[in-house]
């Protein structure tokens, strides 16, 4: 029994060319290195250590095109890959012509998961939906969802349809993050209280690594439904620029005569964004409020005990 945590894995798996690398790059703001463009069949698995939700680590596994390598994954490297998995995200290419092969790989993954990490959560993404005609998208997704639900038994899988060219990718990953945060409803009600106390127009809670919106509170209708994704993109672009200067992003204040917005670290897993439409309230007041709330929310994250927490555990 070690006193440090075993790193829990998030497996991002799927057939070669299904869009995993692009997805990971977009969600985590990684530069896509040119040498990951394969010139031949994938003969190695890419390990990317992106921290996610505290101490989860994203592992990108590419089911390379050749069957021999797939079989290799599921026999000799099976325990190595499938132990300590917290989350399995499996990506399907909607225009794939080899549906049976895709399902066969998926089922092999599920078997290995059942044996090695039976508590893992399974998410299926039906990707590249922009290539399907708009009027057929719902139908095709429903078909796939039924097939996947059926094949996944006894495990339960949650299915999403995604495309990097519309808001579905962001929403799907936001939903995934939402389901992985253990006491998220309590977090939301506390967030509402916090917002009402400090008289904010809108308060958002973002996941730290990806700036995916976990929850939000707004006191009146806002015009732009895409604002969450836009904020996420803006901040990730800013983070990319900061990283070029070997600096890291910590907090930001944006103010003009109409509003003041504050983005700051909140808990160990989250960032908070507070928008005040009363510019007469001084920044210092809001920042103190945020700092005090931080302590309260961190306690919330620990309060429900070790079995739900994503923090390090003694084993």
């Amino acid at each position: 029994m070690s006193s440090t945590a075993m790193k829990k894995k998030v497996l991002l798996m799927g057939k070669s060319g299904s869009g995993k690398t692009s997805m990971r790059s977009i969600i985590f703001a990684n530069y896509i290195a040119r040498d990951t463009r394969r010139l031949g069949a994938t003969i190695d698995v890419e390990h990317s250590h992106v921290r996610f939700l505290g101490n989860l680590v994203l592992n990108l596994w590419d089911c390379g095109g050749q069957d021999t390598f797939m079989e290799n994954y599921f026999t000799s490297q099976r325990d190595n890959i499938f132990r300590n998995v917290e989350v399995l995200i499996y990506v399907f290419d909607v225009e794939s012509r080899e549906l049976e092969k895709d399902m066969h790989y998926y089922q092999s993954c599920l078997e290995a998961i059942l044996q090695n990490s039976p508590d893992a959560k399974v998410f299926c993404l039906v990707h590249k939906m922009d290539l399907v005609q708009e009027d057929q998208r719902d139908l095709i997704f429903k078909e796939r969802e039924e097939d996947l639900r059926r094949l996944s038994r006894p495990l339960a899988c949650t299915c999403f349809r995604t495309s990097i060219w519309d808001e579905t990718l962001y929403k799907a990953w936001s939903s995934i993050v939402y389901q992985l945060i253990p006491n998220v409803q309590q977090l939301e009600s506390n967030l509402r209280n916090f917002a009402q106390i400090i008289e904010a127009d809108e308060v958002l809670l973002f996941e730290r690594a990806t700036f995916l919106v976990i929850s939000h509170y707004q006191c009146k209708e806002q015009r732009d439904a895409h604002r969450f994704e836009k904020i996420s993109n803006i901040i990730k672009q800013f983070k990319l620029s900061c990283s070029k200067l070997a600096a890291s992003f910590q907090s930001m204040e944006v103010r003009n005569s109409n509003f003041a917005a504050f983005i700051d670290v909140f808990t160990s897993n989250t960032y908070v964004m507070v928008i005040m439409s009363d510019p007469s309230i001084p920044s210092a007041a809001t920042l103190i409020n945020i700092r005090n709330a931080r302590k309260h929310f961190e306690k919330l994250e620990r309060v429900d005990g070790p079995k739900h927490s994503l923090h390090m555990r003694m084993r």
Binding site: T21, S22, S25, I26, A29, N30, Y31, I32, R34, R37, V94, E95, D130, L131, V132, I164, W165, D166, E167, R223, D224, A225, H226, E229, K230, N233, I234, K236, Q237, F238, L240, S241, V254, N256, S257, N258
Partner: protein, 556 residues
């Protein structure tokens, strides 16, 4: 720093939503946001138009994705179908005005009537000159029935071609032509066969054009010469008397007739202009004179200059219709109905030579290699099938009108209906002023269409073999010399355009009208498991008819 990430197409944050906005504030905001444009500076019809939310989020996304890859990386390049429509794109100038991007050439939208007219214009070719001869070969009643039924069959096959690219799942087929669809369903053999048969139709048309151009140039030259020198050719050919002469250039060539007919000498015995006869002969010299005119035109790099003259074709057809109506008034109707046997002057209503008419009609109703492109610019795409049917009906009516009228008014008591020539203008002497005008119009029209056809052939052949449209002057010259030689040889030794049209029509129609659309349709149904027996038998029957059409040309 703030402006780095601000998307270019952002929603309008100033204005209505904030009730109090002082002038200084708005000035301040303008200096800090160089790409924000006040609504009144957006130049287009509706000044209150805002950028749509979808366009704005797409711009934000693209900004972000462009940071993630190198500039030469194509991984996160937006595909065409996610980019907002041209109506939603604004081009901003740094001076603060914004212009809406109007759709470029690709999204030109024509109303239905223009599309119908474009299809009619494209289908109306020189086959209109052979329809009366075709009706004669098939018999009057049978000919009319065949025109209607072949028109309907080719319309159905054209409908199949039009719909063939719609049933391909998951791929954006908006700029595919029919040979791309064949390549998708049938692989390389499908693509090559559709290209080769398309080539046959184009080169066949070019050969026919050469023969006809030699014919028209010869007649024009003869008319001018005779007019200038006041020579009358009234007795040279066998024909009717009077002002509206109709002649029978080859009175002896009637294989089924038992009666004999005195062959009139076709050469003029007069000694007035033997030199002119020698130098200006329809088959011996005029085809060669044309080389001087047309071979240089074929070598032009781009054919867009000739595309401006498509209106000449419309004028020529309209004039032909007027000419036929005029002759009908002057000559009157001469029809007698003999159902199954020949008489001295008339042909039976039902004849076994009818495959010759079906061959001609297959080329007359042929537009299958470019119908997808033509219908792309239709404004209301949902009306495509209706507009195509209307165009086919109009074409059929035009052919019926010209064919039936010329056949019916052909003066049969002195002349036999068998005399109707494959080019019905040949049945009028070169001294006829109305027909002279028709010949001149058609000659000029053909000299502008010939280089266009040559350009199409060159683009397809050079594109397939060398990968680019103009690989070199000598390659293109060699191809043009081959095509011109084919035309000249045909004009010299076998200037029977009826035969050329029917063989070319049946051959390329076999693949592009009958076989490929039916096969592609059956395969697409089979792939989704919806191929039923009635449909399979019907389409197999169409394929069999295509083969029968081709075989019929050789045996009848």
């Amino acid at each position: 720093m703030e402006d780095d990430w601000r998307p270019l197409l952002g929603p309008d944050w100033s204005g209505e939503s904030y009730a109090t906005q002082s002038v200084t504030d708005s000035l301040d905001s303008k200096t800090r946001r160089p790409f924000h444009v006040e609504p009144r500076n957006i130049v287009e019809e509706d000044p209150l138009e805002r950028v749509s939310a979808e366009a704005s989020i797409m711009s934000s996304r693209m900004n972000y994705y462009s940071r993630l890859t190198g500039s030469s990386d194509r991984l996160l390049v937006p595909p065409d179908h996610v980019i907002p429509a041209p109506e939603e794109i604004y081009v901003y100038s740094p001076l603060g005005t914004a212009f809406k991007v109007h759709g470029g050439d690709g999204s030109a939208r024509n109303p239905s009537i223009i599309t119908i007219f474009a299809i009619w214009n494209a289908m109306m070719g020189t086959s209109i000159l052979s329809i009366p001869w075709g009706i004669k070969q098939a018999g009057f009643t049978f000919g009319i029935l065949i025109i209607i039924s072949v028109g309907l069959m080719t319309l159905y096959c054209c409908y199949r071609v039009l719909k063939s690219s719609k049933s391909i799942p998951y791929i954006d087929t908006s700029d595919w032509e029919f040979h791309d669809v064949c390549k998708y369903y049938l692989g390389a053999p499908g693509q090559w066969s559709s290209l080769i048969f398309s080539m046959v139709s184009l080169i066949g048309a070019m050969v026919v054009y050469w023969v006809l151009m030699s014919n028209f140039l010869f007649n024009t030259g003869e008319f001018i010469y005779n007019y200038v020198h006041n020579i009358s050719m009234a007795d040279a050919d066998f024909g009717t008397n009077g002002t509206d002469r109709v002649i029978c250039p080859f009175p002896g060539t009637q294989p089924e007739r038992n009666g004999s007919l005195t062959l009139f000498a076709l050469s003029d015995n007069s000694t007035e202009a033997p030199l002119f006869e020698h130098l200006w002969s329809k088959t011996n010299t005029v085809p060669f004179y044309l080389i001087i005119l047309l071979l240089p035109l074929l070598n032009f790099r781009s054919a867009s200059f000739f595309a401006r003259f498509t209106f000449l074709g419309t004028i020529s057809v309209m004039y032909l219709i007027f000419l036929v109506t005029l002759k009908a008034f002057r000559l009157g109707f001469h029809l007698e109905f003999h159902w199954f046997h020949h008489t001295e002057f008339f042909v039976p209503e039902f004849r076994v030579l009818f495959p010759q008419l079906t061959g001609v009609l297959t080329l007359a109703f042929f537009i299958h290699n470019c119908v997808i492109t033509l219908m792309k610019s239709n404004q209301h795409q949902q009306n495509n099938v209706r507009d195509l049917s209307v165009a086919y009906v109009l074409v059929g009516v035009t052919y019926l009108y010209v064919g039936v009228l010329v056949f019916a008014v052909f003066p049969s008591p002195p002349l036999s209906k068998e005399c109707i020539e494959p080019n019905f203008l040949d049945n009028f002497p070169s001294s006829d002023i109305w027909v002279f005008v028709a010949r001149m119009c058609l000659f000029f029209q053909m000299t502008t269409v010939y280089p266009l056809l040559g350009y199409l052939v060159r683009v397809q052949i050079m594109g397939q073999i060398f990968g680019k449209h103009y690989p070199g002057f000598f390659h293109v010259l060699f191809l043009n010399v081959v095509i011109v030689a084919a035309g000249v040889l045909m004009a010299r030794f076998y200037p029977n355009i009826g035969s050329i049209i029917r063989y070319a029509g049946a051959f390329c129609g076999l693949a592009l009208v009958f076989v490929l659309p039916s096969v592609v349709h059956m395969i697409s149904l089979h792939r989704i498991g919806k191929l039923r027996w009635p449909s399979a038998t019907f389409h197999s029957l169409l394929i069999a008819l295509g083969f029968a059409n081709l075989l019929g040309q050789f045996f009848m």
